[in-house]
Assembly symmetry: C3
Homo-oligomer: 279 residues x 3
Amino acid sequence: MLNLHLPEHENSFLQALARVPVKVKKRVPLVHHITNYVVANDSANAMLAVGALPVMAISGKEVEEMVSHAQALVINLGTPSEDLMASAVMAGKSANAHSLPVVLDPVGAGATQYRTKNALRILREVKIGVLRANPGEVGSLLGYRSPMRGVEAERTHTDSAALAVQASRSFGCTVAITGQTDYVSDGHKLSILYNGHHMLTRVTGTGCLASSLCAAFAAVETDLLVASTAALGFLGVVAERAALKGKGPGSFRTALFDVMYSLGGVELVTSLRLEVKKV
Amino acid sequence: MLNLHLPEHENSFLQALARVPVKVKKRVPLVHHITNYVVANDSANAMLAVGALPVMAISGKEVEEMVSHAQALVINLGTPSEDLMASAVMAGKSANAHSLPVVLDPVGAGATQYRTKNALRILREVKIGVLRANPGEVGSLLGYRSPMRGVEAERTHTDSAALAVQASRSFGCTVAITGQTDYVSDGHKLSILYNGHHMLTRVTGTGCLASSLCAAFAAVETDLLVASTAALGFLGVVAERAALKGKGPGSFRTALFDVMYSLGGVELVTSLRLEVKKV
Amino acid sequence: MLNLHLPEHENSFLQALARVPVKVKKRVPLVHHITNYVVANDSANAMLAVGALPVMAISGKEVEEMVSHAQALVINLGTPSEDLMASAVMAGKSANAHSLPVVLDPVGAGATQYRTKNALRILREVKIGVLRANPGEVGSLLGYRSPMRGVEAERTHTDSAALAVQASRSFGCTVAITGQTDYVSDGHKLSILYNGHHMLTRVTGTGCLASSLCAAFAAVETDLLVASTAALGFLGVVAERAALKGKGPGSFRTALFDVMYSLGGVELVTSLRLEVKKV
């Protein structure tokens, strides 16, 4: 299905999307991760698969220096602790000082007060470029009572478009909400992405992978709506192709990395099912 | 081999076993893990594969609240530290207060005094529902000199049936011992499971997976002998089928998650090689 | 290509190499890892695949006792912290006291001052048997300005042979440098290994796997040049065979573990492309 929802004048948007994965392969951005120990391995492998370089450093004794060599920073709050929060703030401020894009993944915001508070602290103390989350997490950060059970995305929300726009204006950043349909807004435009596969909910950390891809793509594309739309679209198309190879979550997961490695920019945009609106 | 060892009147037991994985898929229990960083990813993926929701939270600042939303708790002592022990006790007490089943995996008890002491502390301070361990670990907790080398299960013990019964009476909980043959006892009955595959010893953390499955199954089945027998039987049957697909430990591991995703309750019991005895 | 570069009198060297993986399977050495949370799972699975037993223990309360049961120690500085450094030194001294071989993987030395300083501290306070690293890391430890970006190996250095010899003399240990070509020196001899596959750079932690293999092999072979040459050659041959099965980094990684499990000593040496020189 070739971009049926896109008006003619959006072709330049598509071309911009197509260039992002190509630029990642060319520039090999170093993406610093402050992340959780559950998905760190998959996140690192996703970076290598798309042609970026991952680095996971969390000690307060080195994060500032490591960030100074990086092209993007991911702050993923999947297994928060006081030490990790201190390092995350330090890394975030360093990234701001070096004008690197920062992606925040507020894993489980709403599931505990500690997680909500931590994510809001990062949003307050660090200039975030992209907030990548699921609808429940974004709702929690906006102060809605949210039905989070644990940290895995639930796919039942229907107001994600409005959430994305509201959050982007409230937090002054691009907001990328993943779910059965993905929504990306920078407060001016809204991308709606229909790609993806339900098997993504049977592999842990696919939301974290989306965040890492947003960071790798933001490292080479300053328009964060373009970068985040390309990242979520990329993962959605990858998932669709991986589902053709993998008959269960084990082989699907293996296939995710194979397809991430081989999917090019043109293939990406010709497989996207995407709407872009002004908001 | 269809339950040749089961007397006629045990058919209700089999029916109960068959219902457990079905109930997991229906109720989607949230299983909180205090676990080690080596196997956390596999444990989370196992939960998603069988239809449960994993959450890994370890900070003392949130474990009580996270447990209050969960339906079961796993305490896995694979990479112990003082902070982790404090969180484990806190989470365990919270689980007790909310009447959640708690599964203890005393990884490497007997390998170091610290591990033995930590496991005994949890058994003393938290009401454990299921102790899932290998024979060497259970022996160590009972005070036997045990030949533990590191944390991986050895498959050489022959007295596991007696160990399971003794431990269940000593610790006042269901005890699930894995090995070449698996033994589950609640002090009144003893399940002996002949399923499994030697390739399970070539993938790290398959014991931890057994513990996580015990927790997911205990979340939906209050008879912990039934829940634990179903869990160990499930992993055993899964391993046998995965071994048909995977020619080495890499592809076997991938297949484990594929088969966990697809194996139903009826298929489970028709593949079980099981004896149940009064003790 | 059967050892075309080897002079006739080196056949005993080849026979020694062939015996190493066989001895691992026979003796099942316990390999204690002080390692990072990104690759711990893969490292453990690599140990099980080749027939060794992994154990990951990091608490200062148990590392000395755990090491006392082990046959080798890996100190991998991939995600350093003050606590981990303290445990690493303690484990290292314990390994020295028990005459165990210690393998140091100074992940990201040169990427931050903290990492360089930590690695040099280990080299100063612990007697290292094998330093396994990439060229940039070794260069940094020798005081060269090194172009490290993050922690993943870059394959652009051409002076690795000289680096290996110099480092082995400076640090008084065997040095195993991995890259497009691998170099191992004990200060007297230099092994040059041409096996390997570029896909190794698309899976995180393959350098860490090389270090773990060096440790497992050093546990059963006291000549550390033989052990390290066998380990790097083993991973190189494994990678070549895995690349025939895996079409992308996901399936390549799965195949790595399958091939590690099945590759025997004779197959190893008949597939090696190796030179050994006096230096």
